[in-house]
């Protein structure tokens, strides 16, 4: 078993769909939080295969998309500092900030390198002791422990020229903020798979107990997503919303305790600014005092300038689930993957990019 093809079997998918059609009676509105799930749903045409009783909405689960312009501007301002090498995941490169992007800043002469892992960023720091190497730390709970690990490794190996711009975000607090806003009425939530690999399924309990939302944690193959829809429909038809795990091969109730511990040693929760949602309490991670010498914001005196928003772009509304990409006037006209206006068109898992590549509109 290689844990991929087995979960793409067409006959099994038909059987799960058959069961969903059989048991779905009442109209339900489900949100897939994660951009990775949006890609699976769009790529495999899952939305079109579901009964009309099931409405699917995309959520804010794309770290690149939710990074606020003010934070992008900080990354760009850091890149303009002398003797600095910026290391970043590739998705961030083309996201437009207020006035520029990392890609344009690189074209202007800044040393900005795409890395696959913080392991590569650390290696660049070792090889360039006279430069400050800054990693643009974006990502949810899935990624934050790997950044924490890199900071601990830098400390252990005495690497003094490695810094992190911590723009990490936490998922349960933003779901809470979304539910509290009352803007979107949800019945069920497809909870993020690999975020839950780290944090476990327990942090989603509040959504079921306090808000009556059915929750199923699942993986990213088409059968995983279909199974989660089946389990959500089953919970809602029974009128018993709770938290269940469909992705049992990769998620437990407790999560990865070691990863949680490392994250807690290096970071502490802080308010974070989300595109479309503004500041959400306790939804970000900042470096703890013991590790603040690795904090790029503390180490460099930068002036990112005033924040500007992109005219006509509705990424914020799309991330909150109140609008869909085809509702945007810029979609497929002035905003395309080649010339993106907003981040949801840049990231491969952004809603706009998913609709653009796989949508039928």
């Amino acid at each position: 078993m290689k844990f991929i093809d087995e979960f793409r079997d067409a006959d099994m998918a038909k059987a799960v769909l058959c069961q969903i059609h059989r048991q779905s009676k009442r109209h339900v509105r489900l949100m897939e939080f994660c951009g990775g799930h949006t890609v699976t749903i769009m790529k495999h045409g899952i939305r079109q295969l579901l009964p009309e009783t099931i409405e699917m909405l995309s959520g804010p689960g794309c770290p690149v998309c939710v990074t606020a312009n003010a934070d992008l501007d900080k990354a760009i301002a850091l890149a303009r500092q002398p003797d600095v090498i910026i290391t970043t995941f590739g998705d961030m490169l083309r996201v437009p900030g207020s006035r520029s992007s990392l890609q344009k800043t690189r074209a202007d002469g800044a040393d900005i390198r795409v890395v696959y892992s913080t392991i590569d960023a650390l290696q660049i720091a070792r090889e360039n002791p006279a430069k400050a190497v800054i990693f643009i730390g974006i990502g949810f709970e899935t990624t934050a422990p790997t950044i924490a690990a890199s900071i601990m490794k830098a400390e252990e190996d005495g690497i003094n020229n490695y810094y992190v711009l911590s723009l990490h975000k936490l998922c349960p607090p933003v779901i809470k903020a979304l539910l509290d806003s009352g803007e979107v009425k949800l019945d069920g939530l497809i909870c993020p798979g690999h975020v839950s690999t780290i944090i476990g399924s327990r942090p989603w309990e509040f959504a079921a107990s306090d808000y009556g939302i059915a929750c199923v944690v699942t993986g990213f193959e088409p059968l995983d997503v279909l199974q989660s829809v089946d389990m959500l429909v089953n919970q809602l038809e029974q009128g018993k919303p709770r938290v269940e795990i469909a992705y049992r091969r990769g998620v437990t109730t407790e999560g990865n305790l070691r990863a949680q511990e490392l994250m807690n040693i290096v970071f502490e929760p802080s308010p974070a600014s989300w595109r479309g949602m503004g500041s959400v309490p306790q939804s970000g991670l900042r470096l703890r005092k013991e590790y603040e010498r690795f904090d790029a914001e503390q180490a460099f005196d930068i002036d990112p300038g005033p924040t500007l928003e992109h005219k006509g772009c509705i990424c914020g509304d799309i991330l909150r689930g109140v609008k869909t990409p085809p509702d945007c006037k810029l979609f497929r006209t002035s905003c395309t993957p080649e010339h993106p206006v907003g981040p949801c068109m840049v990231s491969s898992e952004g809603s706009c990019a998913s609709y653009y590549h796989y949508g039928t509109v």
């Binding site: 844990f3 069961q19 994660c34 990624t143 993020p192 199974q227 091969r249």
Partner: protein, 74 residues
Amino acid sequence: MCLAIPVQITSIEGSEAEVEFGGIAQKISVFLTPEAEVGDYVLLHTGYAIAVVDEEEAQETLRIFEEMERLAEA
């Protein structure tokens, strides 16, 4: 961004492991999954294993789908 793919560990040395990924050998970190052993499949995310894939649970999930298939045919 939270993409993680199952890869099989072929060797481990300290917190570094080698995995086979699309026919290519690649070095990864098992710092976050000290319980990982040679032969295990792990979920690989940005160069780090974040979980050991539970094969028994995977088989159990597939059994649920097989059961649904039988029901659909009935």
